[in-house]
């Protein structure tokens, strides 16, 4: 069982665990030789190969809500955050102190134990403090840390990062020390996630796809026997990918569940008997009252009428991949900017903007949407007001004290115009100037 697995004793940076792993119904000899069937990485999902609702285009899959409720695709994510209590020598160290139970910070320190560290089992929200650490502000003065007054320490707390509403649980806390007598604190934050729209799944044939929509069980198609699929996969995934193995897996798996035996799914029947030919599988299916082709009559869950086609349905081993929307989804209206260019930052981790790139720009130019282009590239990015001298064409400045505009090259403020440019453009001019290239602006009436 899981308790024998070492991953719950280690302090990994990142760990993804499936909650209810299963042994694949259809294996190969090689899988058994390497023991892959002993370390399940997926679940045997009943898959119906059909189209449903249009949310299954481009390899997306439709999932059954009841299956998800019952634990299909559920996973545990463990992330490590660490902190260090540094030893500066001379007996001076960072210190961890008992959190205040009242006052401004008390709410953010709710999950802290009296030792100043987050206690295992507590729910941690974004911006919660998980270590109440303080560092000495004067690091190299003599004496021991016991002798330093409280005023010599400034807080260096660490907070849990995550988007709003994304909570985790403190799973474990470990303390280690190194040869320089620094103490390292490791916190494992645990999240249990159920699949949501956008999470990625894959069968063992490289047929990956995201969850396109989640539909409740009563709307899902069902068979006369009461079988209701966990997953619906679009048949358009087959012709171009030519994953015959997946179809054999479905047949073999279906035969396997109906006769109670694990089948081998190698491509060809072998004389050794280590594989089952499709003919043999079909025979097993017929023996158990299924069609030899693996197709079933299916009724629409919405209308109750039988569907027009026979549906290829049976179990396929599906794995949950680690790419989950929760870790990727990102949107921003206003937010931080890069200091150098004053443009919005890039990337989800920095709460960055979504770039309107060159090709998108080309589209807007071709369409002639000049106001939109201006708004995207300038107003929503890095607008900057500059003073331009009409005589020398160089940038001047505005003297706030005298409330006058000055050109530092011409030493006067007679011919100065105020205009707006992207800050990055002004930066370019100045960088060129620093390389002895003089960019001159020639202004015309707009």
């Amino acid at each position: 069982m899981i308790s024998l697995a070492p991953q719950l004793c280690r302090m990994d940076t990142l760990l993804y665990l499936l909650v209810y792993p299963q042994r694949p119904l259809l294996t190969t000899r090689t899988i058994e030789l390497v023991g892959y069937d002993k370390l399940g990485a997926g679940q045997n999902a009943t898959v119906a190969v059909m189209s449903y609702s249009g949310y299954d285009i481009e390899d997306a899959i439709v999932m059954n809500k009841a299956s998800l409720d019952r634990g299909f695709g559920r996973c545990i994510v463990m992330k490590k955050s660490s902190a260090m209590c540094q030893n500066y020598g001379n007996g001076i160290m960072d210190r961890i102190i008992r959190p205040p139970r009242t006052g401004r910070q008390a709410e953010r320190m709710q999950i802290l134990d009296d030792d100043g560290l987050a206690s295992p089992g507590e729910t941690i929200r974004p911006n919660d403090i998980y270590i109440n650490k303080q560092s000495p502000s004067v690091k190299l003065s003599g004496g021991s840390s016991a002798g330093l007054p409280d005023s010599a320490y400034k807080p260096s707390i660490q907070t849990f990062k995550g988007s709003k509403g994304e909570t985790a649980v403190v799973d474990r806390v470990a303390l280690t020390s190194d040869d320089e007598l620094n103490i390292r604190f490791k916190f494992i934050m645990r999240q249990v996630r159920r699949p949501e729209v956008g999470d990625k799944f894959s069968s063992r044939h490289g047929q990956k796809g995201v969850c396109g929509t989640i539909i409740s069980q009563e709307d899902f198609p069902f068979s006369e026997r009461g079988i209701c699929p966990d997953l619906i996969m679009n048949p358009h995934g087959f012709p171009s990918r030519m994953t015959i193995g997946k179809m054999i897996e479905l047949l073999g798996g279906k035969a396997g569940v109906s006769c109670g035996r694990f089948h081998y799914g190698s491509a060809f029947g072998e004389p050794s008997g280590h594989a089952d030919k499709v003919e043999d599988i079909s025979e097993t299916l017929v023996k158990n009252g299924f069609s030899y082709s693996g197709k079933d009559i299916i009724y629409s869950g919405i209308t109750g009428c039988p569907l027009q086609a026979y549906i290829f349905m049976g179990p396929i081993y599906y794995q949950k991949l680690k790419h989950m929307v929760l870790d990727k989804m990102h949107a921003r209206a206003r937010g931080p900017r890069v200091q150098l260019t004053r443009q919005p930052t890039e990337g989800r981790s920095r709460d960055g903007g979504l770039r309107l790139g060159e090709m998108e720009r080309d589209c807007l130019i071709a369409y002639g949407a000049s106001m939109l282009l201006f708004e995207r590239l300038m107003l929503s990015s890095d607008p900057f007001e500059v003073q331009v001298c009409r005589v020398c064409g160089l940038l001047g400045y505005y003297n706030h004290k005298l409330k006058t505009r000055v050109c530092s090259t011409c030493k006067n403020g007679d011919n100065i115009s105020t205009m707006k440019l992207p800050y990055a453009c002004k930066l370019l001019f100045q960088e060129l100037q620093s390389m002895n290239v003089v960019p001159r602006l020639k202004l015309a009436e707009a």
């Binding site: 019952r70 017929v286 919405i302």
Partner: protein, 323 residues
């Protein structure tokens, strides 16, 4: 008949074929697919039961984490004969949903510690209910029937403990429906099939040799036809075993005898199979489903005294009032 609208009212009939506590097979006749399907959908998604919804963990030193155990607890079916009369905790005005209220919630306690060298199974039998009418279904089955083999029933395993590990928690079970979470669905399987009408062309059948008949019968993956040992005639033994696979029709065509058999689905009769999780009896599940369906229709039907409804809905209003 105020508006002179022709009524399509029908009087469906139910005939029960087989009845067990957790299994029911019945025929539904003289109605259409929409009615049969509505019944099926309500049984899966809208018949209320009781399930554990809130778990407060005091001590958990087992190998499974708190969320894992809470999820497992939620999926344990509880006897829910009370559920129809209970209130949803969200619209209970006697309490603020903290579980102390008898109208909307039932409290459970679990306190297990392993002090032996053997692995200890924590099962549904360790859940202590504050209401004797709401119990895990396997526990209830054990105490109710003498015919039940107690040695076979080890309870629903929640977690396994080793020496020194402990699990102590308080759980609150609430009323809910399968639409919100599958743990509240009382139905393990609800399915129906259209009753097939099989007509064998006797004349053409007699033109076949006995071997041909046999190979034709064997072409069906399910056992629908057989040969009468006395008359050597092909007879339909079990029409409902037919899965609409059309194998026998294809076989007949391949044998050069198209039209040997004609199979049609009767549009107005359905054979239902209902399996319950044990939360309520399968028969009760059907009755409750009809009750829920009636309540839903009542919400749709307009009351007679709303005059403006006639302007709003016109003929539809008349129809909905049963005209």
């Amino acid at each position: 008949m105020e508006g002179g609208v022709a009524t399509n009212q029908r009087f469906p009939k139910i005939k029960i074929r087989e009845i067990k506590d957790d299994y029911l097979k019945f025929e539904l006749r003289e109605t259409d697919a929409s009615m049969a399907n509505a019944l099926r959908r309500v049984m899966i998604a809208e018949v209320p039961t009781i399930a554990i919804d809130l778990v407060e963990i005091e001590v958990n030193s087992s190998v499974l984490n708190d969320e894992f155990i809470s999820h497992r607890l939620g999926l344990i079916p509880l006897t829910s004969d009370r559920a129809m009369g209970m209130r949803f905790s969200r619209d209970c005005d006697a309490c603020d949903g903290d579980g102390q209220c008898e109208h909307c919630s039932v409290e459970f306690h679990l306190d297990v510690r392993c002090d032996q060298d053997q692995t200890l199974d924590v099962t549904s039998a360790d859940l202590m209910s504050t209401d004797p009418s709401v119990l895990p279904v396997d526990v209830a089955a054990k105490s109710n029937s003498s015919a039940y083999d107690a040695s076979e029933n080890r309870g629903i395993i929640i977690v396994k403990l080793r020496r020194g590990q402990e699990l102590r928690l308080r759980a609150i079970a609430r009323k809910g429906i399968g639409k919100d979470h599958a743990k509240w669905s009382p139905a393990a399987t609800v399915t129906f099939m259209y009753e097939p009408e099989i007509r064998i062309n006797e004349e053409m059948m007699e033109s076949l040799s006995i071997d041909e008949k046999r190979s034709w019968i064997e072409s069906s993956p399910t056992k629908v036809f057989d040969i009468d040992p006395n008359t050597q005639q092909v007879v339909v033994t079990d029409p409902e075993a037919y899965t609409y696979d059309e194998e026998v029709i294809k076989k007949a065509e391949a044998m050069g005898k198209p039209g040997l058999v004609e199979i049609e689905a009767k549009e107005d009769s359905f054979i239902f199979t209902v399996e319950s999780t044990g939360a309520i009896k399968a028969s009760k599940l059907v009755v409750n489903a009809i009750e829920v369906l009636k309540q839903k229709l009542d919400a749709v039907r307009l009351s007679d005294d709303t005059v403006e409804a006639d302007d709003q809905f016109g003929e539809l209003g008349v129809h909905m009032r049963g005209g």
